[in-house]
Every structure is written in C-alpha cells, then in structure tokens.
Point group: C2
Chain length 297, copies 2
C-alpha cells in the first residue's frame, strides 16, 4: 500500500472535519476561538486521529463513524501541547516551526483556549447530532476510555512527572518508562482502542489492537527522543537538543541511543506481531508502525 497517499488523504479528511466542528472565529469569544483554531491548524501530523480511523477500519468498521471521536482526540492532544508550552511549564517559544499559542495570543488566552479545546472534545463526543447512528452505550465507553487516558492517571500524570524529573542528576529508567507510557502512550493507546470499539471489534481483536497501540505509543516517544538528538531544528520544528539541555528524562539519557534504537525496533515488531490475526485491512496500521520509527519530523 501507499502509506504517503493514505496519510495525506486521512489528514485532509481530519482537517476538513476539524474545521467543521470547531467554533468559528467570528463567534464570541473571538480571541479564544481564534487561538483554538491557530493551534489546531498549526501543522499537526494527525497521528492520533489517523490511528483511530485506521484501527476502526482494521476492526472491520467504516472509519466515517470514528471521525468525531478522532477529531475530539486531536483537540485533546492540541490542548495538551498549548498548556505544556506555557512559560510555567516547558516555556517553549516554537512548536512545529511556528510561535507557540501564548507567544501569539498571550498566556491568559492560551490557558483558556487549551481549556476550551479539552471541553470541546467532550462536547463533540457527547453530541447527539454528530454521528447519531452510534449506540449511546458505545459512545459512553469511548468517552470513558478517552477521558481516563487524558486524565491525571494518564497523560496529565506523564506531564507532571516529566516536569518534576527535569534536571535531576540521576535518571531512573522506571521513571522514564512511566513518563513515556503516560505522557504520549496513553492518548495513542486510547486512540487505537476507541477506533477498535467504534469499528465493532470483538474482545480478542480489541485486546490485540490495544497491544498494538501500547507498543506503537512507546515506540513513537522513543523515536521522538532520538529525533531530538539527531534531527535538525528545521526538521523537528523546535530547538534540536533541547531535551538534553534541560536534563529531560528520556530513553537515550537513561539507556543510551543505540539501546533506545534497538528497543524502538523491538516495539515495532511487537506491534506487527499483535496484528498477525488481522488481514489486509490492518495494512495501514502495519505501515504506520514502521513509519513511526523512521520519520524525520
């Protein structure tokens, strides 16, 4: 299959839907709606929504039915980036090569725009007009899965421990694992599981897809750590080498770059293995797993 074409097509569908679902800039409060749209359309790769759509297809479903949840997931991911970039948090001026939200709109608007994107995700997930065909109990399960993975025991926990570990002299591998599986892994896993649920996966397929999601989520973050060292500032859209400079708890810092690369490759194998009982409908997921550790941005 042509992964590049697949990603481009899905990315366009996600972008169109996000544009449709997000409040317009000419609606009050203007500043917040402008700031929400700025960060949503600042060049994200839409990894999480595409994984959700692909998991839905792998489970035998029609990915259209997963589009609202896929967009909700991208809103949650984007809110987390806006808040992580704030001066009180990672204090980043650039993200994907563009000024961060608070640099453009100020801190107060950035905080509220993040809050609004998180809330908008749940408006969308619970909207009875968007995708009325999906069974209410299933929708509730999706809200439950996504909120749990985004909460303090998921993504927020990862970000909190990440911040608290910054600059510590000793980098403990268990802590790095906690950060990676929570900060990045949780939302990626939730994306795949929600796609599986919405695609009508049975228990066995769901478990296999969750295993795939966990492996891919961790591989994605390890690849990110490696890119921060080996990529150029232009490629990654933010200052290269910034993790090391800040004393971030990363895989390369804990176990070295060669071992990190080996583990990432191993995780791709685990992800592919998990898909062994699926046919060609899972090819996009297979290609995405391989792409995730090879990408340059």
């Amino acid at each position: 299959m042509d992964l590049k074409k697949y990603l481009k097509e899905k990315c366009q569908l996600v972008d169109d839907s996000l544009d449709k679902f997000l409040p317009k800039e000419d609606e009050l409060p203007f500043s917040i709606h402008k700031a929400m749209r700025y960060s949503i359309f600042a060049g994200g790769k839409r990894v999480r929504p595409i994984l959700m759509l692909a998991a839905c297809e792998a489970a035998g479903g029609n990915s259209e039915g997963a589009m609202t949840a896929a967009c909700a997931m991208e809103m949650i991911h984007t809110y987390s980036l806006i808040h992580d970039d704030l001066p009180a948090m990672d204090n980043d001026d650039f993200r994907r090569g563009k000024p961060t939200n608070h640099k453009v709109f100020g801190e107060a608007v950035a905080i509220l725009a993040g809050d609004a994107l998180l809330t908008e995700a749940f408006i969308l997930l619970s909207s009875l007009e968007a995708c009325p065909s999906i069974d209410p109990l299933m929708r509730l399960k999706v809200v439950s899965e996504i909120s749990r993975c985004a909460g303090s025991r998921g993504m927020i926990g990862g970000q909190a421990v990440d911040m608290e570990s910054e600059g510590k002299p000793e980098i403990d591998f268990a802590t790095v694992q906690y950060i990676h599986t929570h900060k990045t892994g949780a939302l990626i896993k939730a994306s795949v599981r929600a796609g599986a649920l919405l695609g009508g996966a049975d228990k066995k397929s769901e478990a296999a897809l969750v295993k795939y999601g966990e492996a891919v989520g961790l591989a994605f973050q390890i690849a990110d750590d490696i890119l921060d060292i080996e990529g150029t500032t232009e490629e990654i859209g933010k200052d290269a080498g910034s993790d090391q400079e800040r004393g971030k708890a990363t895989y390369p810092a804990a176990i070295g770059i060669a071992e990190s690369r080996r583990r990432a490759a191993e995780l791709v194998d685990v992800a592919l293995d998990a898909l062994s009982c699926f046919g060609e409908k899972a090819d996009p997921l297979r290609e995405i797993a391989k792409y995730i550790v090879k990408r340059k941005s």
Copy 2:
C-alpha cells in the same frame, strides 16, 4: 423547611462523595492529586451540586442518582477557579480565605490540577461503575449539557470577555450581561437542567426548571457583585472592593447598586414563579433562590 439543615446535610453528602471519587494523594502523580484535593476541599459552599440534587428531587427523582453528576459539576467549577486565579488571569492570592492553588503548589501544578479536575469530571460522568442504573442516552445528554455550558460558548466565554473588559473606561451593560450569564450563569443553569433530566422531568417541568436556573444563576452573580462592595474581606474570603479596583465589568458598575439590588430581587421572583407548578418537593429550590441574594459570603 429548615434550609440551613438541608444545605448542611447535602453539603456533607457531596463532600463524602467527592472524597470517594477523587484520586487519593498517595497515588501518582502525588503533586497533582494533592493539589486537586486542596482546592476541592478549600471550603466551597457546593451551590452547584446542591442545586442539581434539589432540581432532581423537585422533578420527582431520587437525588442519589444525581450525585456523580453533582460531583462532576463541582470539579468543573473548582478547575475554573484554579485557572481564573492564575497570575496570567486574575492573579489572586486568596480564595475563600485560603492561599490559592498556585500560591501553594506553583503555577505548573495548578494548571495541571485544573486540567485534571476538568478531565476527572468527564471520567466520572462516563464511568459505567458509578450509577450503572442510569440509561446511557440520558447520561450522554447530561455530558452534552454540562460540556456545552462549560465550553467556549458558555463559562469559558464569560471568563474570556470578563478579562478582556477589565479596566475599560466604559462599561457596556450588554457586555456585563454576557459575562454574567456565561461565566456564572451557564454552570448554574446546567446544574439545574442536569438535575431535572436525571430526576426524570417531562419537557414542561424541564423548561420550568431551566427558567429557574437561568434566573437564579444571574441573581447569584449580581449578589456576588454587591457582596464585593458591601461585604468585609473576612466575610467574602478575598479582598473586598477588588472588582472596583480592577475596573471589572459588574452590575453595580454598569447600573448602580440600588438598581442591581432591585434586579436581583426581581430575578428571585422570576425563579419562584417558574416553580409555581411544582409542589413542596421544590421547596428547597425556593428557599435557595431566596437565600442566594441574602447570603453574606
């Protein structure tokens, strides 16, 4: 009826449930869970959850079935206070007589604790273990109502316009109305409507309760504006007169204190009128409406 006793009993039930539902302090991430609990148990009056329970009872339901949603509402209210108090927003050092969240835990933890409380509300609302007896479609409707009222077209919109209006030489009455009906009114209305839905209200009763909620929500904020001028710092738990000092867009600033008091009283009448077709089960709602404009804190 004895309102004081009613409020005390419901407050205790809400507090017990919040304690049960919130993640424990000895669970990772410790800092976030500690900060979440700090602000939740910093002396809130539980106005929104109690209104939800009382609306559920007025509609003929058992308020136990509304307890998870009532706690979710208090989590959303508390997150909004934590974020509003941040240095980039209202920059408040005290809230209810205690240091604000960021003064105790630092800005980064305060931002994440707010994010986590908002997310936790949706974890709770979608949890299949909490209150499994409620129909999934009804639960989805409650998620939809609460998320819409908390989002950019609701509470967040009110806070954004409030901030943007601060210190402006001319205070436009339409803007004050937008701020009050959104910033405070939206969540209070959502509390009453969610209670009505969970109590099994028919369309007519639901509409009457929503009318009550809208009137009470606005009256509550006007009373708050008046308290800021006439209350002592000790009574209101924050610096008295701070609205005027900051040039906040308030009812007294726009139409004077006497007219503000008259409108608040008028809104209480509207609220009581809306309840005319309800029997004594709505007595708590009636007493709360009268109390809201008479309270001293």
